[in-house]
């Protein structure tokens, strides 16, 4: 096929498929009561896969360009694998019996979803894109309802599933218009057809943006987020809040930016509008939350809005800064969720009140949480500051000063509810003095996230350079 070795472009996907087979087979021979060691195997496999991703070469295309392994795909794939690795490691200490008995299912589903993401990162064909999207999404519904005896989990899974399938329908409806007008399923062909300015094609692309809006949880398509997050197991939610959204953004890059040239300017009003309502909606709805998972869910919606600010800049810089933002968000958001998990395991509560005086009980855990919250809030010397600064800069370059101002002012609202958590931890007096026990693997994951947040905050340059290189093939 075009003289390119198929296996070299597909190396990560093939590796992951092999890993899934091994996990499946090993899971079969494990003792029925406790299959948790499957997770260890999964984690080791993912580490190898992550190493492979640095050996993979960028710039190969196979299947007539339907599958492309460029810098963007590789950057995104590394991000997916890192997020999954952290999610898997943090899942290992989960104590519910279901996680021991049905561990094979759990990790298989995560890996299947990851496979969908990896393909999605490279898909440049409408059909491949849609299939990969579903491969990513369906295991997520299943994982949300993994604790099938708990009514909240079932409710959340059903809600997520219904909203998710409807959004898939809207997405595929939009894709069908694109195919109908462009006469090809190749995304580059769609981009060329856009010069005609055919209204049905524009309608199709807007419909697809709506469908994607559900996946990335942009306002007003975010309704599934808080319930799903609240009911599902926290390490899974930490992963869910990052990896599938990152995949959604890669699709946005491919569909709306790649090979568009000057025509990207079509998307500025839609993207800026979506960013504005998402930032405002997410931040305002986060304020009254008393459950930290719900609070992080709404704040996550707001963060999607900030990434859309980078999309609204419709430039290589804007796309690169969104990628940077995704990495900062990965460490900050996953870290915060993992602290929630640590506190919930000890206190049995995800409520904001469980954090009373945490700084005097477990100072290091409290400091980690503070760093994550400050990073999410965009305070200097942690990763989130540069992330916000860079997307603002990209938008300012396009003259979108009003958007930057709205977004910057709303960060103050975000800091309000982040500081409410900080107040509980640092200002309130604890009821008890004993430190919170944290499982070693969980503290390792939290430590990794702290490292990511702080190192990126102090020395962002290598990541910026990598993100700029990843975004370069788009324009």
């Amino acid at each position: 096929v075009n003289g390119v070795d198929v296996s070299s472009a597909l190396v990560l996907e093939i590796g992951l498929a092999i890993l899934m087979l091994i996990v499946f087979l090993v899971g079969l021979v494990m003792p029925a009561g406790d299959k948790r060691r499957v997770g260890v195997l999964t984690a080791i496999g993912l580490v190898i896969l992550l190493g492979l991703s640095w050996r993979a070469e960028a710039g190969t295309e196979i299947f007539n360009g339907a599958f492309v392994q460029d810098e963007l795909a590789l950057f995104a794939k590394r991000l997916f694998i890192v997020a999954t690795l952290i999610g898997v490691l943090a899942s290992l200490p989960l104590r519910a019996a279901a996680f021991a008995r049905r561990a094979t299912e759990y990790y298989m589903a995560i890996l299947a979803s990851l496979l969908g993401m990896l393909v999605l990162g490279s898909a440049r064909d409408l059909i491949l894109l849609f299939v990969a999207f579903e491969l990513m999404s369906i295991p997520l519904y299943y994982l949300t309802g993994f604790l099938k005896r708990e009514p909240e989990a079932v409710e959340a899974a059903l809600k997520f599933f219904l909203v998710g399938t409807v959004s898939s329908a809207v997405l595929v409806y939009g894709l069908s218009f694109m195919y109908g007008i462009a006469g090809t399923t190749d995304i580059r062909g769609v981009a060329k057809a856009l010069t005609t300015g055919h209204p049905m094609l524009l309608l199709g692309m807007l419909l697809a943006l709506g469908g994607l809006g559900f996946k990335i949880a942009a306002f007003p398509f975010h309704m599934w987020v808080p319930d799903t997050y609240e009911a599902a197991s926290t390490p899974f939610v930490a992963w869910l809040s990052v990896a599938p959204k990152a995949a959604g953004f890669v699709v946005i890059f491919r569909l709306y930016l790649e090979g568009m040239g000057d025509r990207v300017l079509f998307w500025v009003p839609a993207a800026a509008g979506l960013a504005t309502v998402t930032i405002i909606g997410g931040n305002l709805m986060a304020i009254p939350q008393q459950n930290v998972k719900r609070l992080l869910a709404y704040s996550g919606v707001a963060h999607i809005g900030y990434m859309l600010v980078g999309f609204a800049a419709v430039s290589a810089n804007g796309a690169a800064m969104m990628l940077f933002y995704l990495v900062a968000y990965l460490f900050g958001n996953m870290g915060a969720f993992l602290v929630v998990e640590a506190v919930a395991q000890a206190e049995g509560s995800e409520g904001i009140a469980a954090y009373r005086g945490l700084a005097q009980r477990s100072p290091i855990l409290a400091l980690s949480m503070l760093l994550f919250l400050l990073s999410l809030g965009g305070i200097p010397f942690v990763a989130g500051f540069w992330a916000k600064l860079y997307v603002f800069w990209a938008a300012a370059e396009q003259g979108l000063y009003w958007l930057v101002l709205v977004a910057a002012v709303l960060t103050v609202v975000a800091l309000f509810y982040y500081l409410l958590v900080a107040k509980r931890m640092y200002i309130d007096v604890p009821d008890r003095r004993d430190p919170i026990p944290v499982a070693p693997l969980l503290s390792f994951c939290i430590f990794v996230c702290v490292l990511g947040v702080v190192l990126t905050g102090i020395y962002p340059k290598p990541l910026v350079v990598a993100a700029l290189r990843a975004a370069s093939p788009l324009f």
């Binding site: 200097p380 600064l389 800069w393 103050v412 900080a422 107040k423 200002i427």
Partner: protein, 520 residues
Amino acid sequence: MSAAMPLGLSSFPVLSIITWSPFVGALLIMFLARRNAVLVRWLAVVSTAVSLILSIVIYVAYDREAAGFQFYEDVPVVPPLGINYQLGIDGMSLLMVLLTSIIIFAGAWASWTVKVRSQEFYALLLVLVTGVYGVFVSLDLFVLFLFYEIAVLPMYLLIGIWGSSGEVRPQGIFGWAFGRTGVGTKEYAAMKLTLYLLFGSAFILVGILALYVANDSSSFSFLEMELGQFDPRLQSWVFLAFYVGFGILAGIWPLHTWSPDGHASAPTAVSMLHAGVLMKLGAYGVVRLGMGLLPDATLQWSWLVGTIACINIVYGAFSAMAQTDLKYVIAYSSVSHMGVVMLGAATLTEVGLNGSVYQMFAHGIMTGLFFALVGLVYEKAHSREIFKMGGFGRMMPGIATAFTIAGLSSLGLPATAGFVAELLTFLGAWQSTYSWWLIPAVGGAYLTAIYVLRVTKQIFWGPQSLDPHFQNLPDARGPEWAALWILVFVIVLFGVWPSLALALVDTATMPLLNRLWVLQ
């Protein structure tokens, strides 16, 4: 731009040492002084003393003939984006650095009695000071913004943990909201102050980004932007962004309401630093970035800045009169006096701008002294209610005398620093295009006399209170005297010898005004 350095200071990173010395102190306190309260205090005093001594050294060594930015340092940080760690100091920022050094050194002594979690208290306080120094000495707008954020955030914990809650009675048309939001509590004040200031920083960030993009995204350097010509329309809105952003910190009406709550709830050293130095940081930002980089917009908007400053003076003074809580009186007087600072800047005259900078310094020292004294009174008498206290002058003559001197400086009595500052500002207002500004300005000084003298008389010099809690109160002792002596000395010194500061300030304000006058 780097002028000849006297005393061989050219290769010595003196500004960095001044800036980072408190930060190093904070690190030492966190890692070395675990549960050793005395060592914590001495580390704080020593690290701030290093900054103070070096500030005095550069004050002496600054070449007044050459003027401009001196003690220049430049280290590229993120070269592709044009971010450099670029420091330099001119007459105006030098005076502000000196002010910061004096206040924090006195503040370290004044906080000697902080007992709860004192290690964290001193560490956060010193980090905060590093941020303040950084804003005054950095010439790179981006680095300036970073330091600004450092100067804002520790405040939340400082007020929230070590602050004190006052009594605020629900009243007025928003009375229903008082109970729900917890007005008057330290948590409320901490959150309000932090959110207001971060709200301001959002505007500052947008302004800085706009100038950066207009400058071809090449450099954040103040010196390079100063040479460029920005489009007047861009200047116009960026100036407003800077005015709102830095103006919130300077306490401009109607965005000042964080300041009385915050200063009243903050612990002593934080009130001293915040009212004494951080509010000046706002005014400094308006003058340095707003007026320094955007000359067309300055001419366009000076009427607005001056008019709001007049409202500040009168509104702040009337509000101060209405308070029954001693700390709120001082806090509102800061709002009033910051109006004088902004008014002097808005006159666009040499005397006015010099008066403005002089007032930044004079008010900083004076209000620092006030808050130190209020803290002492509260610690001895455990009360801030003015009309419950009385006749303290007999029991604490030292505190009473210092309070009276601060009060006299506040109302602008000759031979105090406040007199020089207000006189210059009034002269500037008279010479400016809008000479009617003089009326509210002088009226404000008169109102200040009323409330300051009334408070002083009631608490210290009036008849003795019969309340059994207020009998046999001690005077200041030990380390507390250090704080009072330093501040009183500076007030009187700069009151009788104004050219100590004025000659210096003039070297910085004249070039700035010359750029404006060329346009007029």
